[in-house]
C-alpha cells in the first residue's frame, strides 16, 4: 500500500481543482474504499479528487507521477468486478464533474461526451435537445457512467444491432499514465468523431484495460434514431434448454430486432422485487416456466412492423411457443408484483432506461455479484445449467441473464448471486458459490469473464498466450511507465 504525506499532496492537488474538490476526509474517502455492492474486499482511497477539465486531469496525473502515487479513474464505482476499487491506495479521480454533452451530430448519429457523463445525463440531454435520437439503454442504474461502461464491455438494449458498448465508441480522448493527452479515431486528425476507421485502431489501448492505461476524458458514442414502431415481446418456455434455441434462431433472422435477452425465473422474480425468502427456489420442480425471453423489434412503417411481428410469431410457432406482448405478460402479474419490469418497457407505460433499485438489490440485502462472461451462443444453456446446479446446492435461488449480441455472433451469460451485505456469513458463502461457478463454467471453451475481479484476472493471465501477455506488458509499460494507473486491477494488474 502506498504511503505518503497526504496533506502536502492534497494542497498541491487543491491548486489544480480548487480546495473544495479534493478531500482526504475519512467520510469522503469511505465511499470510495468499497463498491457497496459486491463480495469483493475493500480497498483504500487516500485522496478523492474531482477535476472539471481534461487539463486538470493531466495535471493530476503529473502530480501522481511525481510522487508515484496510484491513481484510480472513477465515475460511479458500480460494477460487479469491483474494478474501480483502489487496491493500492492513492488518488481516486472522480470524474463526475466532467459530465457535459459536448456535441450531438445528428447527421452521423453520435454524441461527444465527457468522461464522467452518467447514463442519466446523456438520456436527459438527448430527450431535451434531440428527442428523435437515443443512446442505448443500459439496465444498470442511471447514475452509472457511460464511458467506463463502454470501455469495460458493458452493454445496452441495442446489443443486437451493435454489440458491446465498446463497439459503440467512435473515438476517444485519453490522458495517458504519463499525463499526455491523446485522441484516437477520426477525431485525432479532424473535428469529426464519426468513427475509428480508417486509421490504426488505437481504441484497443484503452478498451478492456479497466482504467490501467489512461483516463478517458471525452468519447464519441453512437446514437440511434427513435423509430415510430416498437414492440416488446415476451417469450416464455418451461426450461432454458427449450427457450434458447428459439432466441438464437430469432437472432439470425433480422426482423428489426434490436435486443434479445432472457432471464430465468429467479432473476425475473428479483426484478419483480421479491425478497429472497419469497422466491421460488426451483421453479422447474413447481412447473413454473423458468425461461422468460424478451425480444424488442422496431420499424419505420406500420406495414414493416406488422410483417416483422408476424415473422417472429411464425418462428416461435416452429418451437411450439406462443409469444405475447410484454405488456400483456406484465398484466398477468398482480400490480404489486410487477416491480422493475414497469420501468423497462415503454409499451407498458413505463420509463426507460431501467430504474431498478440496482441488480445487486434483487434480494433486497443490498449485495450482489455475478460471474458474467462473454461466450459462444452454443454454450448459453450449458452455462446456465452448471450455475443453476451449484447455486441450488448452496440453497440460493439461481439467477441467470443472457443477452444475444450483434446479430447472434456471440452472447453474454451471467449467473448472479444476491446476498445480505450486512451478514459476513452470507458474504463468505457468496464468495464460495461464485468461485465454484467460475471454475465450472470456465471449463467451457471460450467463456471469458468481463469486468473481472482480481481473482479472475489471475485466471485470465494464466490462460493467455505468453507472447500476448508480453505484448500487454509492453503496452502497459509504454502508456503507464510508473505503473500508477489503477494498479492491482486489470489484465496487467500485479
Amino acid at each position: 500500500m502506498f504511503k505518503m504525506n497526504n496533506s502536502d499532496i492534497v494542497a498541491e492537488l487543491g491548486k489544480i481543482v480548487g480546495d473544495r474538490y479534493v478531500s482526504e476526509e475519512p467520510e469522503i474517502q469511505f465511499l470510495y474504499h468499497y463498491d457497496f455492492i459486491t463480495a469483493e474486499p475493500e480497498g483504500k482511497c487516500d485522496i478523492a479528487i474531482m477535476p472539471e477539465t481534461a487539463e486538470e486531469v493531466q495535471e493530476i496525473v503529473k502530480v501522481a507521477n511525481k510522487y508515484k502515487i496510484p491513481i484510480v479513474p472513477w465515475v460511479s464505482g458500480i460494477n460487479f468486478g469491483s474494478i474501480a476499487t483502489p487496491r493500492k491506495g492513492g488518488i481516486v479521480v472522480d470524474l463526475r464533474r466532467m459530465n457535459r454533452i459536448l456535441e450531438v451530430n445528428e447527421d452521423d448519429m453520435y454524441a461527444v461526451i465527457e468522461g464522467g457523463t452518467a447514463w442519466a445525463d446523456l438520456k436527459g440531454y438527448l430527450d431535451k435537445y434531440h428527442p428523435n435520437f437515443r443512446a442505448g439503454i443500459t439496465f444498470s442504474p442511471p447514475g452509472t457512467g457511460v464511458v467506463p461502461s463502454c470501455l469495460c464491455y458493458g452493454m445496452f438494449d441495442l446489443g443486437m444491432i451493435g454489440g458491446t458498448g465498446a463497439e459503440f465508441l467512435n473515438g476517444l480522448e485519453v490522458v495517458l499514465g504519463t499525463g499526455e493527452l491523446v485522441r484516437v479515431g477520426s477525431c485525432s486528425i479532424s473535428n469529426k468523431w464519426y468513427g475509428r476507421q480508417p486509421l490504426p485502431d488505437l481504441a484497443g489501448l484503452f478498451i478492456g484495460w479497466e482504467g490501467t492505461t489512461g483516463i478517458a476524458t471525452k468519447v464519441a458514442i453512437k446514437l440511434w434514431p427513435k423509430l415510430p414502431y416498437r414492440e416488446d415481446i415476451a417469450i416464455l418456455a418451461q426450461t432454458v434448454d427449450q427457450g434458447v434455441p428459439l432466441l438464437l434462431k430469432l437472432s439470425k433472422a433480422g426482423l428489426g430486432i434490436v435486443d434479445i435477452i432472457f432471464v430465468n425465473m429467479g432473476w425475473c422474480q428479483a426484478i419483480q422485487g421479491f425478497k429472497e425468502k419469497s422466491v421460488a427456489m426451483n421453479p422447474v420442480e413447481l412447473g413454473i416456466p423458468d425461461f422468460v425471453g424478451l425480444v424488442t423489434t422496431q420499424a419505420y412503417t406500420e406495414d414493416q412492423h406488422k410483417a416483422q411481428c408476424k415473422a417472429i410469431e411464425e418462428i416461435c410457432k416452429e418451437f411450439k411457443i406462443k409469444p405475447q406482448s410484454a405488456k400483456s405478460f406484465l398484466e398477468s402479474f398482480p400490480s404489486e408484483m410487477r416491480g422493475g419490469f414497469v420501468d423497462i418497457f415503454p409499451g407498458f407505460g413505463g420509463y426507460t432506461p431501467f430504474q431498478a433499485w440496482g441488480c445487486w438489490n434483487f434480494s433486497r440485502g443490498g449485495g450482489g455479484e455475478w460471474i458474467g462472461s462473454y461466450c459462444s451462443t452454443s454454450d448459453i444453456a450449458k452455462y446456465y445449467n452448471i450455475a443453476r446446479e451449484i447455486t441450488l446446492k448452496h440453497n440460493k435461488p439461481p439467477q441467470f441473464y443472457s443477452r444475444i449480441m450483434f446479430g447472434g455472433h456471440y452472447c453474454v451469460a451471467r449467473a448472479n448471486i444476491c446476498f445480505d451485505k450486512n451478514d459476513p456469513e452470507d458474504i463468505e458463502r457468496t464468495r464460495i458459490i461464485l468461485k465454484e461457478i467460475f471454475d465450472a463454467v470456465h471449463q467451457l471453451d471460450g467463456v471469458i469473464m468481463y469486468k473481472p475481479p482480481l481473482w479472475v484476472v489471475e485466471h485470465h493471465k494464466s490462460k493467455t498466450l505468453s507472447s500476448t501477455t508480453k505484448l500487454i506488458t509492453k503496452i502497459k509499460k509504454l502508456l503507464d511507465p510508473n505503473n500508477i494507473m489503477n494498479p492491482g486491477q486489470g489484465i496487467e494488474g500485479d
Partner: protein, 422 residues
C-alpha cells in the same frame, strides 16, 4: 424544454408527498420518528446507484438534489448519506465534525427519497436523515454554529431572528378585524411576522374578506421548526409544549398557517414526533381557500392577467402531500395562466432555504435558489409563486435585476378576492 409537467394519477404515502411504490411486493412497514438504531438494518440496502440524483420521467431526467449537485462528492447525495449512516451505526466509521457537517449540508427536501426505488429507502430515508442530525446533537457535533445561535434566539425572543418579541405583531394593520372569542387562530410564524409581513397582512385581509372569525395569538412563539429541523428535538419539544399551552389557554380549536414550515411542524411534528396530541385542526391557507372554493364561499373577481409558475415548498409538498390546492386556486383565478416548471410536485427542486441550510451553508443555499429561479425564468412566467415565507424570502434575496417576480399565493388571492370594505 423537457415536458415532464403532466399531472398523473399518483398515489402518495399516507400523510406524505412521497409517491407510493405500488409495484413491489414484500415492502417492510416501518414506524416513523424512530431512532437510528431502529432503521440501521435498512441503510445498507443502498448501493449508491445514483438513482436518487435524478428525477425520473418519461420525457427527461433532470438532477434533483441540491446538496449533491453543490457538494459533488458522493457523501452529499442520499446514497452517500445512507452508507455513511450505515457506517457509523455499524462502527465502520466514527462520528466526526465533518460527518455531522455532511448531514447538515442538506435541506432535507426529500426529493432524493422520492426517486429511490428501494421501497424501504424510498419510504423512510427522511427518517434517518433526521435521526442522524439528532445523533449529531447527542454527540455534541450539531447543530452548526449559526443554527445554535438562532436556536438561542428562539429561547430568548421566541424567534430565530433575534427580533424583539414585543414587536411580533407590528405588521398588524388597524383595519384587520379580529374576534377575541374566535376558536380559529391565524398562526403567523416568525418569518412572516418579521421578514415577509405582507403575507400576514394579505392572509388577515383574506380572512376578513371571507368573514372568518379569527384571532392572532396574544403570545405567539416560534413553532420550533428551525430548531427541530437541525436535530435539536428536545429543545423543539419544549417549544412545542409552550405553544400548545398557549393554544389551550386561548381556546383554539383550529389553526390556519401561511408558512409551510409552521404547518408541517404543528400538524405533523407535534403529534407524531413529540407525541403531543393537541387535537387542533391545522390547515394551510391554500387548503382553507380550496375548501371555501369547493363550498362556493369565495369569489375571485379581479382579472390578474399574469403568467405564473408555482414552486412547491418542500414542507407542504413532499413532507405533507399538499400539491394540488395551490394549483387549483391559481387555476380558478381569472386571467392567470399557470405554467409548470419541469421539476414540479414530488419532483420539485428545493429553493435551498430549509433545514438550516440558509443560515449555515450560504453558498449551497444560493446555488439551490438560483437553479430554481433559472428554471422559473425558462417558463417565461411573470412571477414564481409559492406559499411559504421562507421560499419567498429566499427567491427575493436571489432574484437579480427583477428578471422575474416572486410572490406569495396570499398576495394573489388577496388581489383578486371580492373584498369587504375595510
Amino acid at each position: 424544454m423537457i415536458n415532464i409537467s403532466e399531472k398523473k394519477e399518483m398515489k402518495f404515502i399516507e400523510d406524505k408527498g412521497i409517491s407510493q411504490l405500488t409495484n413491489i411486493p414484500d415492502i417492510e412497514k416501518l414506524d416513523r420518528n424512530k431512532s437510528l438504531d431502529y432503521y440501521k438494518d435498512f441503510l445498507y440496502q443502498c448501493g449508491k446507484c445514483g438513482t436518487c440524483r435524478t428525477a425520473f420521467h418519461e420525457n427527461g431526467w433532470p438532477r434533483i438534489c441540491p446538496s449533491g449537485e453543490f457538494g459533488k462528492f458522493e457523501a452529499y447525495y442520499l446514497g452517500g448519506k445512507n452508507l455513511l449512516a450505515w457506517a457509523v451505526s455499524s462502527n465502520r466509521l466514527k462520528w466526526t465534525e465533518n460527518l455531522a457537517k455532511i448531514f447538515y449540508q442538506c435541506s432535507v427536501c426529500l426529493a432524493c427519497t422520492q426517486q429511490c426505488q428501494i421501497p424501504e429507502i424510498h419510504n423512510y430515508a427522511g427518517e434517518w436523515l433526521m435521526t442522524m442530525r439528532e445523533k449529531a446533537v447527542e454527540k455534541g457535533l450539531g447543530p452548526m454554529s449559526e443554527q445554535k445561535k438562532y436556536s438561542e434566539h428562539v429561547a430568548l425572543e421566541y424567534n430565530p431572528y433575534m427580533e424583539n418579541h414585543k414587536d411580533r405583531t407590528n405588521w398588524l394593520p388597524s383595519h384587520v378585524k379580529q374576534s377575541q372569542d374566535a376558536k380559529l387562530a391565524y398562526f403567523v410564524g416568525c418569518t412572516t411576522s418579521y421578514r415577509e409581513q405582507n403575507i400576514a397582512i394579505n392572509t388577515a385581509e383574506i380572512l376578513n374578506s371571507l368573514e372568518v372569525d379569527f384571532k392572532i395569538l396574544k403570545d405567539e412563539h416560534c413553532c420550533g421548526s428551525p430548531v427541530y429541523m437541525t436535530g435539536q428535538t428536545e429543545k423543539a419539544k419544549e417549544i412545542a409544549e409552550a405553544n400548545i399551552d398557549i393554544f389551550k389557554s386561548e381556546g383554539i380549536e383550529k389553526i390556519i398557517t401561511s408558512c409551510a414550515g409552521c404547518y408541517r411542524t404543528l400538524k405533523d411534528t407535534y403529534p407524531k414526533k413529540f407525541r403531543l396530541d393537541h387535537g387542533i385542526e391545522i390547515l394551510h391557507l391554500p387548503e382553507f381557500i380550496q375548501d371555501k372554493m369547493n363550498n362556493n364561499e369565495i369569489k375571485f373577481r379581479n382579472n390578474i392577467k399574469m403568467k405564473l409558475t408555482y414552486h412547491d415548498p418542500c414542507h407542504i409538498g413532499r413532507h405533507m402531500g399538499i400539491y394540488e390546492p395551490p394549483r387549483d386556486i391559481l387555476n380558478n383565478i381569472p386571467g392567470i395562466e399557470l405554467i409548470e416548471m419541469p421539476r414540479n410536485r414530488q419532483n420539485a427542486w428545493c429553493c435551498g432555504s430549509g433545514g438550516g441550510v440558509r443560515s449555515s451553508f450560504k453558498d449551497l443555499s444560493s446555488f439551490a435558489a438560483n437553479e430554481r429561479i433559472e428554471e422559473a425564468k425558462e417558463t417565461n412566467s411573470d412571477a414564481i409563486v409559492s406559499c411559504c415565507p421562507f421560499c419567498l424570502n429566499q427567491f427575493k434575496a436571489n432574484i437579480k435585476n427583477n428578471e422575474i417576480k416572486a410572490l406569495d399565493l396570499s398576495e394573489i388571492i388577496n388581489k383578486t378576492i371580492e373584498h369587504q370594505n375595510f
